[in-house]
Symmetry: C2
Subunit: 149 residues, 2 copies
Amino acid sequence: MKALLKDIEEEILSAGGKRSRSRAAVMEQFFRTRNHTTVEELTRAVRTRFPRIGAVTVYRTLKLLARMGYATELDFGDGARRYESSLSSHHDHLVCTVCGAVIEFENKDIEKLQDLVTLRHGFRPAAHRLEIFGRCRKCAANGAEGRNE
Amino acid sequence: MKALLKDIEEEILSAGGKRSRSRAAVMEQFFRTRNHTTVEELTRAVRTRFPRIGAVTVYRTLKLLARMGYATELDFGDGARRYESSLSSHHDHLVCTVCGAVIEFENKDIEKLQDLVTLRHGFRPAAHRLEIFGRCRKCAANGAEGRNE
DNA sequence: TTTGATCTTGAAATTCATTTTCACATTACA
DNA sequence: TGTAATGTGAAAATGAATTTCAAGATCAAA
């Protein structure tokens, strides 16, 4: 973790950037925080320790991490962009449209089939995103209605 | 097509809605227009024939169609929500981050694997979305840089 | 067909996430 | 240490999407 932050800082340096306390604080909090966090959540979290850090810096830092490949932008259709660390192994999402729960899953076979598809189209994949929307076990049992029903 | 519009109108009626010329015009244009259209594009198209129709009505109509299951909301990460008719068979997308080209593909095997995954989690799927981002054949050959590089 | 309740509309106002601007602070490196 | 460049935060700007509201349509009952 300590090492990770150092690596990122050095990558920024060698790309012509500079170190910054604010950015370091945001990055550390980001890799600490639960996954699928929004800018708003992360800003609040960072501010408990560094009250003067602005939301703009959080936006900028997350965008930077995404550009460098350390974070992934997500969209679960609720109007707020979410970010997750891209360091843990790749996974996709089951999103419950009733209670908002997000279940992560990993499926190598699906990935392999995706590679076949891209190959067939001469397409060079860089990233992908698979989200399945529906009702989680609990909400399906309750027979409750979802956001779009 | 004529029949489709009639069906939708009747579904709206039996749900307590009323007929409307504006909405009919938007719907007809929507099913005529190329896929992956934005509200802005569709508004412009509708207005060539009905200049007084407002963008608000287009927003409302597309949202309605999505709620009724006749349209699907998409997000290719370029800041504008897109809609496609959900009448043609389901497919997913390869999105070129260099030139913006969108290639549709269909893969039953991937869908089957998805069903297995949801089953395993007791999840009742209602919709899913799979987008693969990267470079299309042409842009990969050119060695050009993409939006996020 | 008139009436009246209800839905729909379009323009303008509003909301809300995100981006840009800008003056000032911080950092890197000579 | 000087200084050129990058980073910061507050406020302003942007832009897509939604809400509001008064006026216009539509439908069903009388």
